[in-house]
Subunit: 124 residues, 2 copies
DNA sequence: ACTTGTACCATTACCACACATGGAACATAT
DNA sequence: ATATGTTCCATGTGTGGTAATGGTACAAGT
């Protein structure tokens, strides 16, 4: 597996990692059950902070594309091929679009939405 | 009618204006049909920028608490007393709470929600 | 001992937004 | 002329989040 990180790319590093690993799974360059490099190992190879790799792995595990097994390392998820096609981002986007349209119809300002949204997210 | 602006108050000036005018309507210190000071006049009296007063008036008009009649000035809305009780902000907050909870249940990160929310708002 | 993922602490840079301010112009009416 | 609300331009300040960095530490297993 080969991963290339472009520092000048406006896309965050952790996102580049997520996308390239998903592509590797979709392109069958890595198969379900295959081991992935450890967080520290990959961080070292790419000359990137380990926290950045950890963030990418965490997102990939949430999407059930990889599986973290603690001290045993990280592996490609059994149903990775299916799960890496599911784009939770696209789904969330459509949900937000619908919600925001309803809000605008109700006369809520974009500015008010931003403020309310942040207040609720921060639990205030 | 008497309006007091507190610069040190963390509450934005335009919000202070909106609240105090709503209170004046609810407390029947100004009646439906009564004229309000012009934007420039009030801005001058309070030593505040006219844009700030215009913003407050715009919000009050959206809530149907006041009515702008162009060159003729601004007046208290006929159904002002009813409308200034309706708190669109509280309603929006509850809507957002419900929506955000559903998103979290679906496994969407707060960070992803922020990004998606902004993308949709900006039409990207 | 060594490595695994994970969890805290922290700082730095950047960027987007809210808020407020100022100037200028417009159409509409007295 | 004067005044109304409205709309465009622009700037500055403060806040807050994202992203990335670094260090330290832990439990669990080889």
């Amino acid at each position: 597996m080969q991963i290339i990180i472009d520092i000048d790319d406006p896309v965050p590093i952790f996102s580049q990692l997520v996308e390239q690993i998903k592509q590797a799974v979709a392109g069958e360059k890595i198969q379900p059950g295959d081991p992935l490099p450890s967080i520290r190992q990959l961080a070292n190879d790419l000359d990137v902070n380990s926290k950045t790799v950890a963030k990418a792995y965490k997102l990939l595990e949430r999407d059930a594309v990889i599986q973290s097994r603690g001290y045993r390392g990280t592996f490609v998820h059994p149903e990775a091929k299916d799960n890496c096609q599911i784009d939770i981002k696209a789904w969330a986007t459509s949900q937000f679009e619908e919600f925001i349209l309803a809000m605008r119809d109700a006369g809520v300002t974009d500015s008010e939405m931003r403020i309310t949204f942040n207040n609720v997210l921060n639990g205030k």
